[in-house]
């Protein structure tokens, strides 16, 4: 989960790191207890908001109400501004860049530092320092008074299970170091040991407004920790609905469908042996759209996901959808209890099921669903 700047700065302040005096607005009202000039900052998840007019300096009280009502509700990088953080403007001596993250090259946390903070950090020279997860030590030597804040940030990074803690800029002032911005990404897998995270309202990814189905699909796993179903879900414009299984197999299947000339209506996956009910819920969401010409149920040969239970969940959902889907349904599944699953499916007569096991590869079954969906669409077109 990515935190908004105001949420991130609260974590920083709680950890003893200085941030500017501020007030948060979700509607236009008077500014209290802050000294002008102030900076109005749109609270969106995407970066580069300054270029999109998301950061405004206000010098005097007469302009404030006008400027804040301009910013609230504005669309910045496809995100609607719901909140504005107003901060006292800080006298900056020098700007730096500092971030903590995980690096797959060293398979460890790293600290990235630059003497040149501010926008366009991607093009600037940075130094990378390893962070030892055992001792929490990180050997940043310059500037010489940075050790204290680095130690606090490293401690916070681990304690709060962050995947990214980026401060750009981290500024030096006559009163010491101040974090002027905060981009924090929390590690969702650690939510079980962070009671406080449950208070963060749900959100999507930066610069993207989720669809209704995308929001609904995410809820399935939030309410039930057995296996995974719907944590990754995207809607597309195509006509073939997809229920894929397994992290690796699902993306292999998507690539195969596109290679075969098919147009997906969604991407999603379930895996890790989720219970029947979760798969039923996900199926209802996947099929909750008009103009579908096919459903492709696909996965690799499963190691431990129960094929009978998961496919039963799909059939449970199909039976409840009104009117009953008439489009072709191609199933390519194999793994534990697949014999029982196929026996069960053969008795299901109300749908146009096409059953394939391990002898038909994922790409081969992609060709089949694409062909059947095309024929179905042509037949409909011909009748109508």
């Amino acid at each position: 989960m990515i935190l908004f700047e105001f949420e991130g700065k609260k974590l920083l302040a709680d950890a003893g790191i200085k941030v500017p005096a501020s007030q948060l607005f979700n509607q236009s009202s008077e500014l209290r207890a802050l000294q002008y000039p102030v900076v109005l900052k749109a609270q969106v998840l995407s970066g580069k908001r300054a270029d999109a007019g998301g950061i405004v300096v206000c010098d005097e009280i007469s302009n404030f109400k006008f400027q804040i009502s301009n910013l609230l509700g504005k669309i910045i990088n496809k995100e609607k501004v719901e909140k504005v953080l107003v901060e006292e403007k800080v006298e900056i001596e020098k700007e730096y860049y500092l971030s903590l993250s995980y690096d797959t090259d060293s398979r460890s946390p790293i600290l990235t530092f630059s003497e040149a903070g501010g926008t366009g950090i991607e093009e600037k020279e940075v130094q990378v320092y390893p962070v030892d997860p055992l001792s929490l030590k990180c050997a940043v030597a310059h500037p010489n008074d940075i050790t204290e804040i680095v130690n606090k940030l490293v401690k916070l990074f681990f304690e709060q299970d962050m995947l990214l803690l980026e401060i750009n800029p981290l500024v030096k002032t006559k009163d010491g170091w101040i974090a002027l911005d905060a981009k924090i990404k929390l590690d969702d897998t650690a939510i079980g040991r962070h009671e406080a995270w449950k208070d963060y309202p749900p959100r999507s990814v930066a610069g993207y407004t989720p669809t209704k189905n995308e929001i609904e699909a995410k809820k399935i796993d939030e309410n039930d920790y057995r296996g995974v179903a719907g944590s990754t879900y995207f809607d597309f414009d195509g006509d073939i609905a997809i229920l894929a299984s397994g992290g690796g197999a699902s993306i292999t299947a998507m690539d195969a469908l596109l290679n075969a000339g098919g147009k997906p209506a969604n991407f999603t996956e379930y895996s890790g042996n989720p219970p029947r009910e979760k798969v039923e819920k996900l199926t209802k969401i996947v099929l909750d759209k008009p103009n579908l010409n096919g459903l492709w149920i696909v996965g690799a040969l499963a190691n431990f996901t129960d094929i009978y239970e998961t496919l039963s969940g799909i059939i449970d959902a199909l039976k409840k959808i009104e009117p009953n889907p008439k489009y072709p349904i191609v199933i390519r599944r194999a793994g534990p209890r697949d014999d029982e699953a196929f026996e069960m499916l053969k008795k299901v007569k109300e749908f146009d099921l096409h059953l394939y096991g391990e002898d038909t590869s994922i790409p081969a079954s992609a060709e089949i669903i694409v062909k059947l969906a095309k024929e179905y669409a042509e037949k409909l077109g011909g009748n109508g």
Partner: protein, 301 residues
């Protein structure tokens, strides 16, 4: 050592739980010996005839030096279980558990480096060697012979499902495996592709390898580096999934925790490009893997 000795002394942590006991059953029926299990509070009991102890220490007092452990404890208990195994001197840990917090994985990896131990996983479906009847973890499910035939190809996959899918594809095309393993799709992989590829350089039963990679991270890129550096010489066929994700917003995670494009890093087309440049055989279509392997093996002979 990533290559275990014959008939290793293997234990299981968390094998009394539901996924763990299911996996244990499939390991035993495959012919892999498990000397004991560890579940705090369940010492003195047994699971499928395997004696259970309260701690790794208690277990090693009875059985002496342990070669390997497979870990099936819940995600937030993995760190403690792995630390316990490492402190007890075990040098090979396979972590099946998924959704392990990244900070815990980083800690475990750093401690293993310090102790000279190897970690496979987290999120590893397991490791199998049909010639040695060795199966650690859930790989291949209850009937591994259906998927993994004895042979000379090593399969290394970020995806558990796709490791079996590749095994099946090879089998359907008359090929078999020396090793097959899931390295997990997490950000921190205790063993990455290159680590295991380098380990099987000296394995006389491995003639070539297949890797299943996907978007995210730099483990595929490291294979290219090691091939270029001459540290990996045996032929490799690579299949890299996730081309379609390039059209979606970045910072989205696709199934596996590490399957995420961050900035310019982790893009599947970049992985393909650097692998091709290094001489790795990159397939566009999954069904071409076996054909390319056969060609590579012929060329070699």
């Amino acid at each position: 050592m990533l290559i275990l000795p014959d008939n290793p002394k293997l234990i299981g942590q968390g094998i009394t739980g539901s996924e763990g006991s299911k996996a244990l059953e499939t390991m035993l029926s495959y012919g892999t010996k498990v000397v004991g299990g560890v579940t705090p509070g369940k010492g003195g009991t047994d699971v499928l005839g395997v004696p259970v102890f309260n701690s790794v220490k208690e277990l090693s007092e009875k059985f002496g030096e342990i070669d390997a452990t497979v870990i099936y404890v819940p995600p937030l208990f993995v760190k403690a279980a792995a630390v316990e195994a490492l402190e007890a001197g075990i040098k090979f840990l396979l972590i099946f558990t998924e959704k392990v917090p990244t900070s815990d994985s980083a800690y475990i990896y750093a401690l293993a480096q310090e102790k000279g131990a190897n970690i496979i996983g987290p999120s590893s479906v397991g490791l199998i060697n049909p010639a040695k009847k060795l199966k650690i973890g859930s790989i291949g499910g209850a009937d591994p012979d259906r998927v993994f035939k004895e042979g000379n190809i090593c399969i290394i996959s970020k995806s558990g499902g796709m490791s079996s899918e590749i095994g099946l594809h090879l089998r359907n095309n008359g090929l078999g495996v020396s090793y097959a393993l899931g390295i997990g799709g997490d950000r921190i992989a205790g063993t990455d592709f290159a680590d295991f590829l380098m380990a099987v350089e000296d394995d006389p039963n491995t003639q070539a390898s297949v890797i299943f990679g996907e978007l995210g991270g730099t483990y595929e890129e490291r294979v290219a580096e090691m091939v270029k550096a001459g540290k990996i010489k045996k032929p490799i066929v690579a299949f890299i999934a996730g081309e379609f994700t390039m059209t979606l917003p970045s910072e989205v995670q696709f199934g596996h925790a590490g399957a995420i494009i961050e900035g310019e890093r982790g893009k599947p087309d970049h992985k393909r490009m650097v692998l091709k440049e290094s001489g790795v055989l990159v397939v566009e279509d999954f069904d071409q893997i076996a054909g390319l392997l056969k060609k590579a093996l012929q060329f070699k002979i």
